[in-house]
């Protein structure tokens, strides 16, 4: 799960303070693992260094929480690329996928497309495994099956999410 | 007990269900069973109809003896009018307190007449034009139901003042009905006939209770799944079929009372009846009311004995158990043995013991439905199926030929019975037709006036008749022979004799002996004839035997050879011109003025012959009966076929989807219906013909085959097969539509 992309995505809605960003992130993605301030500021400074965000003014007062950050064009392109690149199918990537779907919805992009891209990637991997299974011995088959069942679980989640995208959109936009 | 009732009630509730489907199923069952019940009720009404009929017949018998002078004189008269028979009494009322016959409220005065409704209608119609001259009297009323044997009877009571007392006194009407009435063997035969005809009805009721059985089995299996014990499921199932049976009873009584008013319109007189008399006897009604629900419950329980055990309703298609043959052959073998043992035992003189014959027939008939399931199974197992359609049908029948075999078993009994009866009829008819053939060259009216009648007047009147070419006087006498036989004697010139019998080279001075229907010559030279009326004896001189049998056998004597013979009565032989249509009716009209004083009998080719008329009636009744039962059987087959299409919706839909042409599927349905029917028809024809030959042999008569009748029945069976299949096609079409692919 890439915190940097998530923060960039959140900034697409408009410039924010670092503190705002942390709160928005925790609210949407950090249910069980909220971000530390340190993570937020180290990430932001990395993004700043790479030219993906800029400082958009400082309010009266002192300290980093007074700085407002805005996304740059390069940043938008980066988010774009991230969303349209499927994750490497592997176990436990729901967090990332979920974040992608929510951010796509938040930014008015097609969440279904994100999901479809991902399912296609999953199926390609599954095909690969299925082919290997056909040629391999029993041990290969069992190992491939393990992976296949996990991927299938992911795919089922993708299906379910795709079926509920409209409901999710309504909730996210509220 | 409470549990039993509540389980039954649950079954009824499941049957009524509330959904449209379950109502439709109940309605179908109701109509199916109802048709059967209505037929049974009509059959149950037969005793009352027959009783009432014989009551009325007895009530119009003449009481000829009484005290004092005769109050009423009656002359019975009956004659043919084309193919109908008109009969009635000419009455001369001598005293005002003379007894009035049943059906009319007073006696007709001179020149008055009471007509039966059917006769009145005939006289009014254009068809009756040639009959009208015979009834110039003034119509003063109609004969009521009490005076008629059946609603179509052509009956009259006419007043005629010129009847003289001559052993024709009437002191009253109505005699005590003879106890027993029917001859016990005849009664037994009728019972056998009824059972044979009702068998398919029972089969049909059984089939109707099994409508939508697959669905019901699933439903009951679900009940098993939630924990109902097998015995309770049986109760619930009984409740379900009970609902259908009760609906059927209600519908049946409805149909019965709806159809009843029309029974007087049946065109066959002997079958028509007064609606008010068509009332099932209480005992038989009760039997129907009890038997139908019991039959419904028993058949459904029997049919479910395999499915009821499986809670999941998944009855795997097992290889069916092969039927065993030995006990199925028992009734057939015993029946044939009984009949064969009687061959030759019955001769002209000996009175036969008819019980073995009747039992043999019954056993043979019952043997058909018993043997048929085994036979269908064997035949079907030997078949492999040439075309895919045939293969589908054969395989289907191999899995379950029982249902179809049971249905067609009922048909087979009827067909066999019909074929046998037709053969027996054909045997008798052949003789009649032989006579007809002999008479084909004749066309004459034999007129027998009363002793007292004005002979020359009648002769003169006849001479003026349209189509009459000659009027010969024939003197007749009647005598007994020493050997116990009787002989009729006709004295007339050759011109007249050759009209009555085929006498070649007739010469005056000769005596001809025409063979009787038994094949014996009427008399031989040297026989002594004792005349019935005068008691005089006469020795038969040289006679010439005329070959060919005839029902007008007797001695035909030319005038020159008749010296010393005193005839007792005279009659006229009226030669008719065969080119003039209805010449006989014109001749009868010519002597209409002598109404009750003459009897006439037409000789020649026509359809008024009494025997032929009876044959016609029996044959039509037989045909109607077998047609009706065949229809019922076809309905049963239809139900079975529809049910099978429903059950096999899924495979049918998949086959259609995979490109199996609908025609192939339709043909497989056709084969599926045709195979059992063909087998049963073959069996019933074989049994019928075999039985016919045996029975005819037993009675020592000549074997004749009614190929036309057999062909007709076979044709009807073929037609029904197509009709049933055609009626299944819409449901096949629905099943094979793409929607059939969607899982339920």
């Amino acid at each position: 799960m890439s915190i940097g992309h998530a923060l960039l995505g959140l900034l697409e809605g408009g410039p924010r303070h670092g503190y705002d960003l942390k709160r928005a992130y925790d609210e949407r993605f950090g249910q069980d693992r909220p971000l530390h301030y340190g993570q937020v500021y180290s990430t932001l400074s990395r993004l700043l260094k790479n030219g993906l965000v800029t400082e958009a003014g400082v309010e009266a007062g002192d300290g980093p929480e007074r700085k407002r950050y805005a996304i740059t064009d390069a940043g938008v392109t980066d988010v774009e690329r991230w969303l349209s690149t499927p994750e490497k199918p592997e176990p436990y990537l729901q967090n990332t996928l979920y974040a992608k779907v929510v951010l796509a919805l938040l930014s008015g992009r097609s969440a279904t497309e994100v999901l479809d891209t991902q399912r296609a990637a999953h199926l390609t991997t599954m095909r690969e495994l299925t082919r290997r299974k056909a040629d391999g011995d029993l041990a290969d088959q069992l190992i491939c099956d393990f992976a296949l069942f996990h991927l299938e679980a992911d795919l089922r989640w993708l299906e379910l999410t795709a079926a509920r995208v409209d409901q999710l959109a309504a909730e996210v936009m509220r | 007990m409470k549990r039993v009732v509540s389980d039954l009630a649950l079954g009824v509730r499941l049957a009524v269900g509330g959904s449209r489907k379950s109502w439709a199923r109940l309605a179908l069952q109701g109509v199916g069973i109802g048709l059967g019940v209505a037929l049974l009720l009509f059959a149950a009404s037969l005793p009352s109809v027959m009783d009432a009929r014989s009551d009325r017949e007895a009530s119009r018998e003449i009481v000829a003896e009484g005290n004092g002078p005769a109050p009423l004189l009656a002359e019975h008269q009956g004659h043919a009018f084309r193919s109908d028979y008109v009969a009635g009494h000419y009455l001369n009322t001598l005293r005002p307190d003379a007894p009035v016959p049943p059906g009319i409220d007073r006696l007709p005065g001179d020149g008055e007449i009471f007509l039966s409704p059917a006769l009145a209608k005939l006289l009014d119609s254009p068809r009756g034009e040639l009959l009208r001259p015979r009834f110039p009297q003034k119509v003063v009323g109609t004969i009521g139901q009490a005076g008629l044997q059946n609603p179509n009877e052509l009956q009259f009571y006419a007043g005629s003042a010129n009847i003289k007392e001559d052993g024709n006194a009437v002191h009253g009407w109505g005699v005590a009905k003879q106890g027993g009435g029917m001859n016990p063997v005849l009664w037994l035969l009728s019972v056998v006939g009824l059972v044979v005809l009702l068998f398919p009805v029972l089969v049909f009721v059984g089939v109707a209770t099994r409508l939508a059985a697959a669905q019901r089995d699933r439903r009951l299996a679900a009940l098993r799944l939630v924990g109902a014990a097998a015995s309770r499921v049986r109760l619930i199932a009984s409740g379900e079929s009970l609902a259908g049976a009760l609906a059927g009873l209600a519908v049946g009584f409805g149909i019965f009372f709806a159809v009843r008013p029309f029974v007087d319109q049946i065109s066959i007189n002997e079958l028509s009846a007064f609606p008010s008399e068509v009332m099932p006897t209480p005992a038989l009604t009760l039997t129907v009311i009890v038997a139908v629900p019991v039959l419904a419950v028993v058949t459904s329980l029997l049919a479910m004995r395999r499915t009821i055990i499986e809670p999941l309703g998944v009855v795997r298609n097992q290889k069916p158990v092969h039927r065993r043959v030995w006990w199925r052959l028992v009734p057939v073998v015993v029946g044939v043995a009984l009949l064969v043992s009687q061959i030759g035992k019955i001769t002209q003189t000996e009175k036969p013991d008819q019980w073995p014959v009747v039992f043999g027939i019954v056993l043979l008939m019952l043997g058909i439905p018993v043997l048929l399931p085994w036979l269908v199974e064997r035949v079907v197992f030997l078949m492999k199926g040439g075309t895919p359609a045939l293969q589908l049908a054969v395989r289907r029948l191999q899995l379950d030929s029982g249902t179809a075999a049971r249905v067609v078993g009922g048909v087979a009994v009827v067909l066999a019975g019909t074929v046998t009866l037709q053969m027996m009829l054909a045997g008798v008819e052949k003789e009649v037709q032989a006579n007809e053939k002999k008479q084909a060259s004749f066309s004459y009216l034999s007129v027998k006036p009363r002793q007292s009648a004005d002979l020359s007047g009648i002769a003169a009147a006849l001479g003026k008749g349209k189509g009459v070419t000659a009027v010969h006087r024939v003197d007749t006498a009647w005598g007994s022979l020493d050997n116990g036989g009787y002989v009729s004697i006709n004295i007339a010139p050759c011109a007249a004799l050759t009209q009555e019998a085929a006498i070649p080279n007739c010469t005056d001075g000769k005596i001809y002996a025409v063979r009787e229907s038994t094949g014996q010559p009427a008399a031989q030279a040297g026989d002594v004839v004792t005349f019935r009326q005068s008691g005089e004896k006469w020795t038969v001189p040289q006679v010439e035997v005329i070959d060919g049998t005839s029902n007008t056998g007797g001695l035909f004597i030319t005038p020159a050879a008749a010296r010393g013979l005193v005839p007792y009565s005279a009659e006229f032989l009226v030669v008719l011109d065969p080119a003039v249509p209805d010449a006989a009716e014109h001749a009868r009209n010519a002597m209409a003025g002598y109404s009750w004083q003459v009897y006439s009998y037409f000789g020649g080719q026509d359809d008024t012959n009494e025997a032929e008329r009876v044959f016609g009636v029996v044959r039509r009744a037989l045909l109607a009966g077998s047609l009706l039962t065949l229809l019922v059987a076809a309905a049963s087959l239809l139900v079975v076929a529809l049910e099978q299409v429903r059950e096999r919706r899924r495979p049918l839909a998949v086959m259609a989807a995979s490109g199996v042409p609908r025609g192939t599927l339709a043909r497989s349905l056709l084969w599926q219906n045709a195979l059992p029917l063909a087998i049963s028809t073959a069996v019933s024809l074989a049994t019928g013909i075999g039985l016919g030959v045996l029975v005819i042999r037993v009675f020592g008569a000549e074997v004749a085959f009614d190929w036309a009748g057999i062909g007709l029945i076979t044709g009807i069976v073929v037609g029904l097969t197509f009709a049933v299949t055609a009626l299944t096609l819409p449901s096949l079409r629905r099943a094979t539509g793409a929607l059939g692919l969607r899982s339920e």
Partner: protein
């Protein structure tokens, strides 16, 4: 070059719109999975594609044995029946075998319908049963076999005529994982060996994984998802 091509297909059942402007292209010899949630119109798409169901709108084109283009949607019922019998094969989830015929006769049936002699048809059928490892049940009725055996018999029947396209609608729907895997393996292997294309309707990703690519149907619309192998 496309073997089977559908464009703008729409089909309604009463008020339910099962398909709306759906399209799909099948190339010779490829295995295409049609996926989507239940009620999305997968089966309807298959039925229209195979000429079982005439669509309300849209066209289906098929390139037959001789390479000539034929429009399924312009054919009458009899022509479509014949096409299905000679060029297509079908495998459904259940209930497709004629219960009263033996397995061998079931497989021989399509050949006999095309006029082949019984003996030859049954010899060919026996070969196919052996290939799908179910020659042991040849003389049993479908009701006496297990679900997996029944499906393999069904596949043998679908393949016996040497069809160009096999339509499989949830062929493993009634089977457990292991039997489902066997059936899919046998189906795709046999199809690849004979060069038949397979249109595979399924909602199970592991079954879809036997395909070369998938088409997703959602709310009656189809989306081709193309992937290079």
């Amino acid at each position: 070059m496309s073997l089977l091509r559908a464009e703008g297909l729409s089909k309604s059942f009463g008020k339910t719109h099962a398909l709306e402007d759906a399209g799909i292209t099948i190339r010779a010899g490829e295995v295409v999975a049609v996926m989507g949630p239940s009620g999305s119109g997968k089966s309807t798409l298959l039925h229209c594609l195979a000429g079982i169901l005439p669509p309300d709108r849209g066209t289906v084109h098929y390139r037959d044995h001789f390479g000539s283009d034929r429009e399924l949607t312009a054919m009458n019922d009899g022509e479509r029946s014949e096409l299905r019998r000679t060029e297509f094969g079908f495998v459904f989830q259940f209930g497709q075998l004629v219960p009263e015929l033996t397995c061998l006769e079931n497989v021989a049936l399509p050949l006999r319908l095309s006029g082949m002699k019984r003996k030859n048809a049954e010899r060919a059928a026996r070969d196919w049963l052996a290939r799908l490892e179910v020659d042991g049940v040849a003389d049993q009725r479908p009701g006496e076999t297990s679900g997996g055996q029944g499906q393999r018999v069904a596949i043998a029947r679908a393949l016996v005529t040497g069809p160009k396209v096999i339509f499989a609608d949830e062929p493993t729907g009634a089977l457990d994982s292991l039997n489902g895997e066997r059936v899919m393996h046998l189906l795709t292997t046999a199809a690849r060996e004979t060069g038949a294309a397979v249109v595979l309707v399924t909602h199970e990703p592991r079954v879809a994984a036997y395909s070369d690519r998938e088409v997703v149907v959602r709310d009656g619309r189809s989306r081709d998802v193309e992937f290079a192998r």
